[in-house]
């Protein structure tokens, strides 16, 4: 059963529509706006950019989404009512924005690599202790989406962890199309690596983690591809693979283009590896930009899950 669909059909959720404000009218922000426009749980109350002539703002306006071109600080200080802010600007800007809204009763989903908020992987909510959303009063309301590599690797790491006694070492290598990596991603490649490694550690329980990112310029562009390799004790490959196919299905509920292309196999004694690819849903971004798709899908899913369990906490 498709959980998103199920949710959309629920009257309760229909009545309480989540007002979403999106900061940043680049690829990520614009894709988010168009994505949520198709999702009955949300009402996009604004896409905020800095240049009125930017392609993202024009596109959003064309689709009837309210746009603001005076920058995020202005929009946050203004009259717009919102329950959730998606920040798709930059790590430094996010810190500024957070200072403006930390007192307000709203949810914050951070898509920048600022690492300010609590790392969240929606696929692990209700599965892994570190990603539990328990308690009616949420102490944190700023959630970080970490990185695309982290979101796409989480299912693989989790399945391998469940299938083994202990993971001693974990490695995530992702390759993405050059055209899907903007200048900010390139400048922040070290942040990408550190944030991904820290997520891998927190899922697998080992401090020994390594992340690798490779850009491939081939035309037509390559799909995003993520390989996880672990050094693990007591791996039961069939158990791990059964868990992995459950995880694949759960991921596909909100990232339809997520596919396991190489299931878990033993490379060497105690060394196990598996690979997933992500084809984008193509809301605003091209289909090869699975890396951007997976992080946006995770952001919307996280917001949806949080409102499902803690709606009251984010009503002003």
């Amino acid at each position: 059963m498709n959980r998103v669909k199920e949710l959309k059909d629920r009257k309760a959720v229909k009545q309480l529509i989540i007002k979403a404000l999106i900061l940043g009218s680049g690829n990520i922000g614009t894709d988010l706006a168009l994505r949520m426009r198709n999702d009955q749980r949300f009402e996009v109350v604004g896409l905020v950019g800095r240049r009125p002539e930017s392609e993202g703002l024009l596109k959003a306006e064309e689709r009837g989404i309210p746009i603001f071109s005076e920058g995020a600080s202005q929009a946050l200080a203004g009259e717009i009512a919102f329950n959730v802010v998606f920040d798709a600007t930059s790590a430094t800007n996010h810190i500024e924005h957070w200072n403006l809204i930390s007192d307000r009763k709203c949810l914050v989903i951070d898509l920048t690599p600022s690492q300010l908020g609590r790392p969240m992987v929606p696929i692990l909510i209700g599965r892994h202790d570190k990603f539990a959303l328990t308690g009616q009063e949420l102490t944190q309301k700023n959630f970080s989406m970490i990185t695309c590599g982290g979101q796409s690797a989480a299912a693989l790491i989790y399945a391998m962890q469940k299938g083994s006694n202990r993971i001693l070492e974990v490695e995530i290598s992702s390759s993405i199309a050059s055209r899907s990596a903007g200048l900010a991603t390139r400048r922040n490649i070290d942040n990408y690596i550190m944030a991904t490694e820290s997520l891998a550690s927190s899922i697998s329980g080992t401090r020994k983690s390594k992340a690798i990112l490779v850009l491939n310029p081939t035309d037509p562009p390559v799909m995003m591809r993520t390989t996880v390799t672990v050094n693990a004790i007591g791996m039961k490959v069939d158990v791990a693979n059964q868990m992995l196919s459950e995880m694949e299905e759960a991921m596909q509920d909100f990232v339809p283009g997520y596919r396991i292309v190489v299931p878990i196999f033993s490379e060497n004694e105690n060394i196990y590896s598996a690979t997933a690819i992500v084809e984008g849903a193509g809301f605003y971004l091209p289909k090869f930009a699975g890396n951007l798709d997976v992080i946006n899908a995770a952001a919307v899913e996280t917001a949806g899950r949080l409102f499902e369990s803690h709606f009251g906490a984010f009503l002003e």
Partner: protein, 345 residues
């Protein structure tokens, strides 16, 4: 003992304006499947300090921070290699290779500099120079010699290479090295690219050959004639695939007729490498020719061989598919998928 080597180095740099960059202990680590031993490293460095090479590069085949399941685990850590090299190289410059995406500033570059690295070559795929921005800017601030490297340079046009090289120069690179990582170039290709860079970028140009077609010395020589002043070589050609330009041969060819030329240290390095790495010396083989023709990264060779043995897919079929799909270095994990796809056809 230190002085003569240092003097000779200075003479080379100032008057001949030509530098031999010794990559034996880095690219050679590919041929050794990253299993370089401390013993060989120390012996090599002690001899290399007497040679007239400009710098000695040390590390995992893919440079700092590259030891991984994906590419190959290194026997020695970066720290072990750099510490030993620094202790045994005397005044000789110690260099490292660093690929953004593998090597980070905090985890890899900072400790390397603290361990006494003099020169860092920040390397990206031939079309992705913008990835080098933060790394190069950091090195410039740290007053470390910073070079930019464009790997797999056959995968970009001449104009494209010039644009990418310019970016790296803007970020602070004081030299640009073109790597023919697939050993795909002919001498004329090298001449055209080196001339284009010499005319436009205003910094030193280097060339790093691979010997897939048996053309490494010819290509490096062409680069020198076209104005490249940084010439990469490895003792006995020890390097990925069918190896690099053989350092001792390159020095001899480049300095033919020079009566003061001190070849002995290079002969010693050659003999040491021939002895210590006897089972791993690169050759031009049907595999290296196939990968060269396909324009595929030489470093894939052991992975391709292993998959072919395991899954029974012929090596030439694998190489052609890797070339067709334009797979780049660092995508080692896709090789298995390609092999599986080919089996299902």
């Amino acid at each position: 003992m230190r002085l003569p080597a240092a003097c000779l180095n200075l003479i080379l740099v100032l008057f001949l304006n030509k530098k031999f960059y010794d990559v034996t202990l880095r690219d050679g680590n590919h041929a050794l499947r990253h299993q370089l031993t401390l013993d060989f490293l120390v012996k090599y460095c002690r001899l290399a300090r007497k040679s007239s090479s400009y710098a000695v590069e040390v590390g995992h085949g893919n440079g700092l921070g590259a030891s991984s399941y994906l590419i190959g685990k290194s026997r020695l850590t970066d720290e072990e290699m750099l510490r030993a090299a620094r202790a045994n190289l005397g005044d000789k410059l110690l260099g490292v290779h660093a690929i953004p995406g593998l090597a980070t500033i905090e985890r890899d570059l900072k400790p390397a500099i603290d361990l006494g690295v003099d020169l860092v070559r920040v390397a990206t795929h031939a079309t992705e120079a913008s990835l080098a921005e933060t790394h190069l800017e950091f090195l410039v601030k740290k007053n470390v010699i910073a070079h930019g490297v464009l790997m797999m340079s056959h995968m970009n046009s001449v104009d494209g290479l010039v644009r990418q090289a310019r970016l790296m120069v803007d970020f602070g690179a004081s030299a640009i090295v073109l790597m023919d990582s697939a050993g795909n170039f002919r001498p004329d290709d090298v001449t055209e690219r080196v001339v284009a860079l010499r005319e436009t970028i205003g910094v030193e140009v280097g060339f790093h050959a691979h010997n897939n077609f048996g053309l490494a010395i010819a290509n490096a020589s062409s680069a020198e004639k076209a104005g490249a002043t940084l010439l990469d070589g490895a003792a006995m050609g020890l390097g990925a695939g069918s190896g690099n330009a053989q350092l001792e041969a390159l020095v001899a060819v480049s300095n033919a007729g020079d009566e003061d030329l001190k070849m002995d240290p290079f002969y010693d390095l050659s003999d040491l490498t021939a002895l210590e790495c006897a089972g791993s010396l690169p050759k031009v083989t049907s595999t290296s020719l196939r990968s060269g023709m396909a324009g595929a990264f030489s470093g894939f060779a052991p992975h391709v061989q292993r998959l072919s043995d395991e899954l029974g897919v012929p090596v030439e079929v694998l190489w052609n598919e890797i070339g067709r799909r334009r797979i780049v270095a660092g995508q080692e994990s896709i090789l298995r998928e390609i092999a599986l796809d080919l089996m299902n056809l």
